[in-house]
Amino acid sequence: MMISPVVLLANPTDEHDTHQEDAHHEEVAVEESEDGGIKKEIKEYIAHHLMDSYDFGLYSYTNEDSTKTYVGFPLPVILIDGGLKVFSSSKFHHGEAVAEVGGSYYKLDHGKIYKTDAAGTITYDEHHHATNEMPLDFSITKNVVFILLVFLIMFFMFRGMAKSYAKGNALPKGIGRFLEPIILYIRNDIAIPNIGKKKYKKYMSYLLTVFFFVWIINLFGLTPLGVNVTNNIAVTFSLAILTYLITTFTANKDYWKHIFWMPGVPVPMKIVLAPIELLGTFIKPFSLMIRLYANITAGHVVLMSIIGMIFIFANWLGGSLSFLLAFVLGILELLVAALQAYIFTMLSALYFGMAVEEHHHDEEH
């Protein structure tokens, strides 16, 4: 019993193993005791939660006759596959049906859309990866919906805040009273110390936006809506690549000089250092991407596993202890949500600072 969360943690997102009904079902069934079913269900739930989805599912349950009922609403699927194809994700019937759009057939498999034949056959290679062709997918998925939601929330919130300044004598009103200290903190304690008083201004828009975006979207991840945006590598990648691009395109001569021809060291060292430094410029934003992704994913997996333990224990002692633990962890995750936003912003500012730093070679080297 007590080992179960560890098992869950050890292999949290490995949906290929858990979902692979036909190939793995027998092995899993052998290992399972009478409560193995619920463990498997929790595992699937967590794996499912960590993935993006094409419909906005609030919850689902299994009926008496073992059919599943999904509560939620479908979202638009946008594919580019020989022309633009837009249709409702309800056509997939949660992966159970083949969607036929304009003479092409598409099927959902492990949360991804594959092009199939009319029967919906999906072929797998030896690693259980589907080998079917994947159409270019610009669907408005659940995550995109929440990105859009945060977009709107942030736009109207900060627009309103900016307007409230215009009215009064430059005093914050309403939500501005709460937000202004945070904005000032980002300016005074993140941007100015890292970038410098002369050049911080042009980075403020990015730093403020990224901080509030990551924070708010992390907070949404903690609501019971079951959304989880920042644990998608695509999302953290797009944030990190912006930091990389801004760093690269605003960097001054000194920055490049320190990468390709490090001053103050012997020539052989310069040659050795150049590739290392160049690699470093990629590793920095890469670490940003992985850090945010891994922290949020880990937080969600642990939290959901502990919530899942309530169902595994299914007694009042274990259940209430798990609940208490989940509660404490939930509070911790609230902190992590803000902390990761802070770290992302802080490190971005640090990298920008490196890119625009003016070196005084006589003193420093």
Binding site: K112, R159, A170
Partner: protein, 166 residues
């Protein structure tokens, strides 16, 4: 790593990048710039106000010290005036005293002199009177003495005697 790449969804990446860059640009125009500008303006106005207050304080202190100087000067002047007045009074009194005493002395001296004069006049008068009286007495005595020949003779003898002695 392979799993991460497998999880990577280009659609989500596209939407995130598109919406996020859009959000940055929109917020920069409609929120961050006005907010930061308002905050900066407020900060600079607070700074100015503080500086002005400091300046006012300094001015006030200056004014205060000026006032004090003025007061001190006035007080000194008053003291000086009082002192002068006192000196003047003392001087006047002293002068008056000396004048009065000189006058008194003069009067006394004059009085003494006139007394002396009167005295001298009186003495002279007395002397004259005494002389007249003496002459009258002597006349009467001589008339009496020389009334007989004997008496005249004794007198002559006495005078001769006296002359011889000399």
């Amino acid at each position: 790593m392979e799993k991460l790449i497998g999880e990577f969804s280009f659609g989500l990446f596209f939407w995130q990048l598109f919406l996020f860059v859009g959000l940055i640009l929109l917020l920069r125009k409609f929120a961050w710039k006005p907010i930061l500008k308002a905050v900066e303006e407020r900060e600079s106005s607070i700074e100015d106000a503080l500086e002005a207050a400091e300046a006012a304080k300094r001015q006030m202190a200056e004014l205060k010290s000026n006032n004090e100087d003025l007061m001190n000067k006035a007080r000194d002047e008053r003291d000086a005036m009082l002192k002068e007045a006192r000196e003047m009074k003392d001087k006047i009194v002293a002068e008056a005293k000396t004048t009065a005493s000189a006058q008194a002395e003069k009067i006394i001296a004059e009085a003494r002199e006139s007394i002396q004069h009167e005295k001298m006049a009186a003495i002279t008068e007395l002397k004259n009177q005494v002389a007249v009286l003496s002459i009258e007495i002597a006349e009467k005595i001589l008339k009496e003495e020389l009334s007989s020949a004997d008496k005249q003779k004794t007198l002559i003898d006495n005078v001769v005697k006296e002359i011889n002695l000399n």
